[in-house]
Amino acid sequence: MSTRHDSPISIEQIERNFREIAPALTAADAIFEANRCVYCYDAPCTRACPTHIDVPAFIKKIASGNLVGSARVIFDANPIGATCARVCPVDVLCEGACVEKTLMDKPIEIGRLQRYATDYVMSRERDVFQAGAPNGKTVGIIGSGPAGLSCATYLARLGYGVTIYDRRPLAGGLDTYAMAEYKMPMRVSVDEARMAERLGVEFKLNTEIGRDISLADLEAAHDSIFLGVGLGETSRLNIPGEDLPGVYDALHFIERIKTRDWANIPIGRTVAVIGAGNTAIDAVTQAKRLGAERVLMIYRRSQREMPAYEYEYELAKKDAVEFWWQTAPVAILSDSETPRVAALRCVRMDLGEADASGRRTSAPVPGSEFEIPVQMVIKALGQQKRRSFFEQIQGVELDNAGRLRVNPETMQTDNPKYFAGGDCVNGGREAVDASQAGKLAAQGIHLSLTGEKVEFAGARLPLHEETSGIKAH
């Protein structure tokens, strides 16, 4: 591939722009921050974490200089604790619940402390868990994303032979391929997969179910199968010009960025991003970092309906992104000479009453169409459900929204051989939610295959579940 370097800024500048926004804590920072933690009992942070990591315990272990023990507490409740340390929406989870936030609006930097402890063991390849004695049973896991990795790790600890199948060349799923590069490089989730590998988990990468191996073969090879397949392609706009060169799907765009091959990453001078979710934010902030002069975020509703987290919105504002509220794309236009994106035709939207889902309806304002010259359009509309894939599996059921139906305690589908978790079950949430689902599924698989109940760290709230309504996710 020839070097094209569309960006008006130098590669060195792009490299600087993509420095981590939350860099590693120094030892002095970590000790100071760890000592600031008041060591709550039945702590709100632990309640707020979907995997219920015993946060005060791991922080006090940092303070006492027991970093291996600290990392063990983290990975015990969350096998992708290093990824979550970087990509979790901590503002609405652990740090949002921190009593130091209540007390002085300065929560303990739980995410960065978690990174500090997990970095310590990962950089040394110091494994904190060992595989269980082989129990002669095997589980096949489809998808090496957070749900699959988590499930695989717990099963390996119980002594299962685990094989993960993933169609991509690298393990980690969206953790590897879709996280904003300034939050986390690929290496972190790839290393987490290596930890699982050192526990004996076998990875069959570049392996697509139905193409490289059939479901029937998979079923014959394994006692149980876990589906951690996530979601499908980004939804289409269904407007003219959608397939023009210069129109990208946000996940593909971000995947290109993950290569850090700056010279070959496409970027327009003016970039329009369609959508206002967290992936849309990742797209606008990274387009800006790549050197786009103007980045527009196009959203049919208003700021109030924006699905992105508040702090993500703040990040985009800091990057001088232009927000076009109540604006919907109607066509992507090309130049007369070359078939390439040249402009986006939009229409203004009027907002009506809230619908059944609580979101306000929107309707185009007649005669309000206008055109914005853009060189690049990025679609960030959310991903589609993988209905056609699930239709191939006998006995599994989907709900009305196209999500796999499971028993929420065991994650078992309507076909008892199949378990599932992550985006394909919850419709698209955080990595940490997928990790918890993987944990519950490992418990469910073990129960189903042996009749024995096990409970991993953070499977439930430690105490007082009867009043667990406090700041839960």
Partner: protein, 422 residues
Amino acid sequence: MADLTVNFAGIKSPNPFWLASAPPTNMGSMVERAFDAGWGGAVWKTLGEPIRNVCSRLAAVDMGPQRMMGLNNIELITDRPLEVNLKEIRECKRKYPKHALIISLMVESKREAWHEIAKKVEDTGADGVELNFGCPHGMSERGMGAAMGQVPDYTCMVTEWVKEATRLPVIVKLTPNVTSITPPGRAAVRGGADALSLINTINSVMGVDLETMIPHPNVNGMAAHGGYCGPAVKPIALNMVSELARDPEIGIPISGIGGISTWRDATEFLLLGATTVQVCTAVMHYGYRIVEDMIDGLSNYLDEKGFRSVNEIIGHSVRRITDWGNLDLNYKTVARIDHKICIQCNLCHIACEDGAHQCIPFTEIEGKRFPIVDEAECVGCNLCYLVCPSPGCISMVRLDDGSRPLTWRELTTRQPETMTAD
């Protein structure tokens, strides 16, 4: 602005803040800089036969991010020639006639030796001498320092020797490494001491390096016990100072020493009977400059409390310390938690559950779960109040049922069988 000047056993000082005999008073140039910074007095690093020190000499304990909560040293007395020290003392006193300059002394246990050094010091124009009967390491192995202070008869005897030789006020510095501070304190008074200073440092081993497994401070792979000081020792010092301040057989001024870092610490010593205070560790940590806020803070405190002179608060709280048997058994407090400012850390709950009397259960209020005190079960111990990180959230409230005060002494006089109860 309140008057901060004090008269300590005839020694006048512009304020009650003195530097203790230690590295910060090692030589003339240092003491002069300290006086320039605002220190009212200084006790010169102990004079005696020059010694040879080891390396290293200091070790500390930290408390979380707070460095040097406690400090220990194995440094000995001055390592400078006596004549050099005496010359600098003379010059320093000439330049700073209004400041208090006290010279700490320690020589072998011979009458002539003490006479000789006391006379030499008097000749410099210094304001007083402090007899170092407290140094717990090194010198004590040679029959000096704490070896004197731990035997009341020796304390009395050497004090007498020094009093024979000089008209200067004699301050006896006591060691805390005794089972009771009263006998050595009284012995000093018996020997004719004009004042007492305490505490000297506490015997201590500071810890062990977990990498090398060698204790601190490391002297070529070996360590020896040293003298412990710094903020961590303040409560021990306050106890000993107040013990002597309320002993009618003492009756001479006290210079309080031990963990004083701020004007607050100093004021507590004054309230419990000290006329001056001596500071070392905080200066070793932050420099002479800390005295500025000590003076400023004490002065503002006195103004706000309506005192015209620091002398009005000296010993003010001594009468508030008594023996346990004189405490009112009928005084009753309970903890109250203001759930509106409760941050739900639940430290009070677990502290009460595992460390006290299991009387802070969870209570549901407006859909949230708060720790709330069961007042009928609360013994008023203060623990929850002490652990609570949210200022003002837990208060200790008096429950007055109108019953008259009753002490254990009164109770056991009336009902002798109670003697066996706790």
